[in-house]
Symmetry: D3
Subunit: 153 residues, 6 copies
Amino acid sequence: MNAPKYFEEINPGDVFKTFGRTITEADIVLHAGQSGDFYPHHLNAEFAKTTPFGQRIAHGTLTFTVVIGLKACRFNPVAFTYGFDRIRFPKPVYIGDTISVLATIVTKQEDPKRPRFGRYIERVEATNQRGEVVLVCDHIALVERAAPISQPD
Amino acid sequence: MNAPKYFEEINPGDVFKTFGRTITEADIVLHAGQSGDFYPHHLNAEFAKTTPFGQRIAHGTLTFTVVIGLKACRFNPVAFTYGFDRIRFPKPVYIGDTISVLATIVTKQEDPKRPRFGRYIERVEATNQRGEVVLVCDHIALVERAAPISQPD
Amino acid sequence: MNAPKYFEEINPGDVFKTFGRTITEADIVLHAGQSGDFYPHHLNAEFAKTTPFGQRIAHGTLTFTVVIGLKACRFNPVAFTYGFDRIRFPKPVYIGDTISVLATIVTKQEDPKRPRFGRYIERVEATNQRGEVVLVCDHIALVERAAPISQPD
Amino acid sequence: MNAPKYFEEINPGDVFKTFGRTITEADIVLHAGQSGDFYPHHLNAEFAKTTPFGQRIAHGTLTFTVVIGLKACRFNPVAFTYGFDRIRFPKPVYIGDTISVLATIVTKQEDPKRPRFGRYIERVEATNQRGEVVLVCDHIALVERAAPISQPD
Amino acid sequence: MNAPKYFEEINPGDVFKTFGRTITEADIVLHAGQSGDFYPHHLNAEFAKTTPFGQRIAHGTLTFTVVIGLKACRFNPVAFTYGFDRIRFPKPVYIGDTISVLATIVTKQEDPKRPRFGRYIERVEATNQRGEVVLVCDHIALVERAAPISQPD
Amino acid sequence: MNAPKYFEEINPGDVFKTFGRTITEADIVLHAGQSGDFYPHHLNAEFAKTTPFGQRIAHGTLTFTVVIGLKACRFNPVAFTYGFDRIRFPKPVYIGDTISVLATIVTKQEDPKRPRFGRYIERVEATNQRGEVVLVCDHIALVERAAPISQPD
C-alpha cells in the first residue's frame, strides 16, 4: 500500500514523470468498443488516408484515458479528483506513438468550504516520442490535510 | 453517411439528447484494463464498502469516455473537437446506473485565425436514472462554414 | 433519439450505405475470445501461410457481426430483426481490409398474423476496399405500421 | 491435432452436442464493443424494463457468434463453411441464460463443381436452460472427400 | 461432450500436441489490461528498443495463460489441476511469434489420501516457430480412477 | 519512474502487501477469451451448480495472472523474473471474491554464473476476503547488484 501524501507535503513545482506507453491499434479498437465511437477517423484506414493526418488517429478520450491512467501508477490514498480544466490536443496521436506524462503542481490553496482538505492544480502534459505535446490539461484535486485548519468560532 | 451540418446551421439553444447506457461492472473492468488505473475505489468491492460511497464507483475517465461516446452516435463530418473545459463530476456513477446525455449549444463565434471555420461551445450534461447530474463539461468544437467568411485585403 | 420509420415509409429500392471499418488483428483476437473459435485459420500466422489464402482470415461470424453492426448506426425504434437468410462469404476478409455495407430494401409485405406490423427483406452486401463482395445476406425485419391494417370481422 | 473427418464418414442423422455456456452481461458489453451496436435493448437496463422483454437481451449476432463458436470445440481440418440459411431467433437470450447446441446432419450431397469435395447441411439448434430454442439455422459446409469422385472423360 | 479419460488410461510417454497460436500485440495489450502489469518491457516500444531484447516481449503470465489454454482444447471431465512446478521461460516471446505446446506424461502415481483418484505429472513444453523452447513447466493433475483402489480394512 | 532496488537492499523477511482486487464475472469471461479455456467450470453457471463448488470458479491461470499483476504495482527496473515454483491453489476463487497478495523474501543467494546479479526467492501468498489462501507460489527473481562481485583471476 502506498503511504498517504498530505496537502502540507505537496508544493508548487513538484513534478512527477510517468512511464511511457505505446498506443496500439488494439487500444483504438478497444476504445471504440468502450466508447461506442466508431468514427472513420479512428477505425477506417482507407478514409483516414484522405484526411490531413493521412492515417488513423487515436480518439481524444483514449489519449485522455491513457494519460490519466499513466499518472495512476502513483496512488495517493488521501487525494481525490475534483475535475479537469482546459483539455487540449495540440497534436494527434498515431498508432505506434509512445506517450509519457509530466505532471507539475502549479498552484495550491485552502478550500474554504472543506477545512480538512486543500486543493491543488496539477498541469498535466503528455508528450510523444518526438517530443511533441499531444495533450495538456489542468487536473484539480482535493487532498486531505495532515492537520485540519482551525476554525475560528 | 451522415450529411454535414455547417456552422451556419448550428445555433445557441440547439439541443441533442442521446440514448441512455447502463454502466456495468464489465465496463469498469475494461476501463481499468485500458487506463491502467486499478485503484481500489473502482476494483475492490471490500475496500469500497469502507468509503463514503459504500460501493465501487466508475472511473472519471470512464464516465467521460461513455458520455462523449454517446454523443458520437450523431456524426457530423465537418465538425472537429478542439478541447474540453470545466469537466466536473457532481455525483459518482455506480455499477448499474444508466446515463444519458443532453448537449446544448451555448455559444457560437467566428474563428479569426480560420476563415473556413467557426467555433461553438456545447454544454454537455450527463444524468443518471435518478435525474442526478453525474458529469458536466463544455465541449469546444470547430466546424466548417458552408461559406467561408470573406477576407478583407 | 432517432425518429421512428414506419412500414409505410419503407419501400423497395431504398438504399442505405454505411461507414467503412477496417478489420484489424485485434478484432480477430477479440472475436476468438468472444466466440471461443481459435482455429488456426484465424489465429496462427504460420499455419495460415500454408493455406490457399496465404494469411490469416477473419471468422465468418466476425464479418457478419461487423456488417450487421455497421448498419446499427441508423437506429429505427419500430423495427425488429426476424431472421437472416442465405448468408454467404464470397471472398475472405484479411487483416487490414476495410468493409462497408450497402443495404437495399428488396421486398415488402403485409404480415397476416401481425396486423400492426409489416415485413421487409433487405439485401445486405458488404464490400472491401477493392470492391469485392465479402458477405451477402438477406435481413428479414418486422416494422410497425403507422396505421394498423383494419381487420375484417 | 484433430484427425480429419471426410465426406464419406459424415451421414445424415449424425449428431453433435456441445458444452453449455452462460451468456453474461460482460458478453453483451463486449459484443456491443465489437459490433458497434449499442442499441438500448442490449445496453440500457432502464429502457429494457419498458419493452415486452422487461430486461436487456443479447444481440442476435452475439447469440449466433456464441452458438457457432460452441461448435468450434470440435475441429475438422478438412471442412469449410459455405454459408448459413434460415437463421431464426425464436426466443430472446437474457443475461444469465445458458446455451448449448445440438447439431444434426440433415442432408449430404455431391458437389458437381468440386469433385474433391462434398457438401452437407447441418441443422444447428441452440437451447437455453429452460429447454427453449433460442436460435436455429442451417449450416452449409464443404468437406473433402477421402477419395475424389472419378471424372468421366 | 468429451468422453472421460481415467487414471488407468493415462500412461507415462503419452503425448499430446496442440494447435499453434500467434501472440499478437493485441494479446499483450489485453493481458496488461487483465493483469494490471503495464511494465515498459511489454507496453513501451521505445523503451523496449533499449533493452537486450530490442523489442517488446510478452508477459510471462500471458505466455503461461496461452500455453495452458492451448492444452484446454482437449477436455477431460475427470481431470483436475493440482498445481504447477518449475515454470521457466528459456526464451522471450515476441509479438508475432507462434507458439505450440507438446505435453508428455512423465510420471503417474497413486494418491494415498484419495482412493478414487490418481495423480500424474505432465511435462509441458511450448515452442515457437523457430523451434526454440519459450516455456516449460510440470503440470500436476488429479484424475479419477475408473475403479477406486480397494481399501484394506 | 521508480528507483532501482538492488540485490544488496533486498533481504529475507522483507514483505510487500498489495492492494486487493475483486475478481468479477467479466474477468472470467475475458480470461476465457484470452486463454481459449471455455471449460464449463468457469463459463457454465448451470453445470457449475452440479460441481462440489456449487458455482463457477476462476481459472487457475486467471488467479495467477491477477496475483502476479497485483505485485506489478511496485516496479523495480533492475529485477527480472526467472521462474515460478510450486504453484498451488488451496481454495477456489469465486466471482466476487477479493484477493490481495503478501510477498515475503525467503532466501537470497549469489548467482555464480552471473556476477552482476543475485537471486532471491519470494514467497507469494494470495488471500481472499475471508482470510483463506487461494494461491501460493515461489517467485524466483534475478536482480542486479549495486556492486558486481569481484571475480578472482
